[in-house]
Amino acid sequence: MGVEGINQTDQYLTFRLGEEVFALEIGKVREVLDFTNITKVPQTPPFMRGVINLRGSVVPVMDMNLKFGMPETAKTVNTCIIIAEIVVEGETTVVGALADSVREVLDLEPGQIEPAPKIGTRLNTDFIKGMGKTDDTFIIILDIDRVFSEEEKAAIRAVESGE
């Protein structure tokens, strides 16, 4: 029982991708934006939707649906961009993540969180920090640093093998 590194009650922001509910530690989340125009950066994989203007800074946005093998996030009134702070190679960077809708902020006690199952999920279990349980639903708690830095590593590999 319990997940390493989670030993106190934390707040989590929950959001929906398709039918499933995901969560991020609230400490990682800076703000939530409405969907705005995204400028595609050439030569990037489809799930890197592009960059947006966040009050003067240029912030990359990832489509988490595509990243996790689901159909592209459709633009609806509920579509949001979650702005999060992540650490890539020891450097703090601000990134955006597209979500179908943002739900609520939840308190989860360590006892409510279980380790990620080894099988039975479509997404790479490396990206999962743990499974939160409330009432009768499961919430997938994402390790957002990994989701993005994995991307960075993959990109470096692509560059190295390409040359």
Partner: protein
Amino acid sequence: MDDAQNVYREEARELLAELETSLLELEENPGDRELIGRIFRAMHTIKGSGAMFGFTDIAAFTHEVETIYDLVREGKMAVSAKLVNLSLAARDQIRAMLEAADSGVPAEATESARIISELTALRQESIPEAAARPAPAVSPPPVAEGGSEAVYRIRFKPKLDLFRSGTNPLLLLAELQEMGECTVIANTERVPNIEAIDPEGCFIFWDVTLTTDRGREAIRDVFIFVEDLCELSIEVAASCEMAEDEAHKKLGEILIERGDLSPETLSVQLKSQKRIGEVLVEQQIVSQDAVDAALAEQRHVKELCGKRQKEAQSASIRVDAIRLDGLVNLVGELVTVQARLSQYSQQSSDPELHTIAEEVERLTGELRDNTMGIRMMPIGGIFSKFRRLVRDLSRDLGKEVAMTTAGEETELDKTVIEKLNDPFVHLIRNSIDHGIEPPEARAAKGKPRQGVVHLSAAHSGDSVLIEIKDDGAGLNREALRRKASERGLLSEGGNISDSELYQMIFAPGFSTAASVTNVSGRGVGMDVVKRGIDALRGSISLTSEPGAGTTIRIRLPLTLAIIESLLVKIGEDGFVLPLGAVEECIELSRNGAANGQARDLIGVRGHLVPYVSLRERFGIVGEPPAIEQIVITSVNGHKVGLVVDQVVGQHQTVIKTLGPLHRQVRGISGATILGDGSVALIVDIGQIIEDASLDSF
């Protein structure tokens, strides 16, 4: 570590840099008194403020070195190569102590002791009498040193028989002239009629007005051997402090202030009045010479005070670099907002709004230029740093190398200059290690024994062109070719132009040095240099002439923060091209494209220019319009056309980085925010050209 200590460290670092430059100059001109003075002052300040801020070890050590320079300054010790070497070592030691205070790890005390003992030995061997004195090292700094500049009135009235003692008064006067700004007026009133003249007598006497900081004693010393043969008076006519106190008013001014006289009447009266000098001469009360001397004195005093004021006016203030960066960021945001305002005003028909928008645009432009100007620094600072590198390296490698520079005043953004250091160190090492041959080999080839590394910088459009040129052996083309095919960069027997071959030197792990020295040759280097320059949005190229040397050209943007650019559109997406690279825009009709289908070339006034479709290059979906635009760009002399849907116009681009997640994207160097809030990408034309020419292999 408190603020005051930080300020001291900052200041000491600057002084040490200055010290190094001066020392290296001194090595070339050992007799330059001004240089010695500068060295002494730098040490003195390091010592003085060091003691004040609690760096007692630095103060104590510097004091020893300073003592030596005090002797040199007084001419009691000669400048020798050994002294310069030791001084440079001492300078490094002071720096080490400074860094040590920073990191908390104490500096090597034995090194300090060694330098001091060698300096003491040097002092004793060059001036034996100094050894006899009990403790010359703790002699207080001479009074003259602290003396501020003053104007002296010197009357040198030799006795008639001065010449009989073999004294040439002109030499004495020349000596005075070396001490500072000096005006000498010969007074001829003692000269008798021709019948009465004694051809061997000295009838002339001199009024000298001298502005110097040496003090009265130093002046008296000049006349030490003729003191009995002349009447000598030395008076302080004015020092700056005095001149400031003596701001007393003229009579006319007082009368005006009291209301007894109107300014108009005064000026009329003054005009009709003769100058006092003229009056006195006319009345034969004083001689014209005396008046001239007095006028010269007046001018000296004025100049002295003017100089002081000027110094005070041009004084600089130290600003934290972080604050400057903050300012630049704010200006960047202002530029973005201004672009929005301009865009909005163009859509409206309100003339008042147009005027305001234009005014804001003008002011923002000026503000931007000024702010960028604050960050500009002359590149000479880093050039002089390399002087030391060249000197030490050539010594280590047993080569004779001189460094010449040009265009030190060329200004570049501070951040750019800081990041240039490592690449430059590398390139200069390469030039000295691989480029320049040993003296014997050079002599055998009929070249001067001493090789030359020439650094130059110049403005060229919106970028700065820096060249590092050596007159060494040049690149070995055959070795390069062999190495290139070894590494599979070149098909066997494949044809490749020299310039392409030279460009390969920038590929990772490419080195032709037969042996690895501790200086260079390990093949990590040129690719790192290239990456460093790329990161500054610059470009690097190389030309080489066998036997005659190698030239490396680096082109760098003036600033990293804001550039003028051309905004273009492809589909819905905006892209910006750095304006400095843009030459012209021409239309590309469907027909024209069809004609050139086989080779993407277009004729521009008789020249064929290759073009690249950015739509294809960036994989943008959608149908291009019937008439596309080609923007002809030129980078490093390569012309290439970039096909876009639409040219929008000029745009001030605040450069934003794309961050680590987009580091691998080629052809895009950053992003910017347009007036409507959307993001446009900045096209890296250099990379596009590079990739396009690789494709054609």
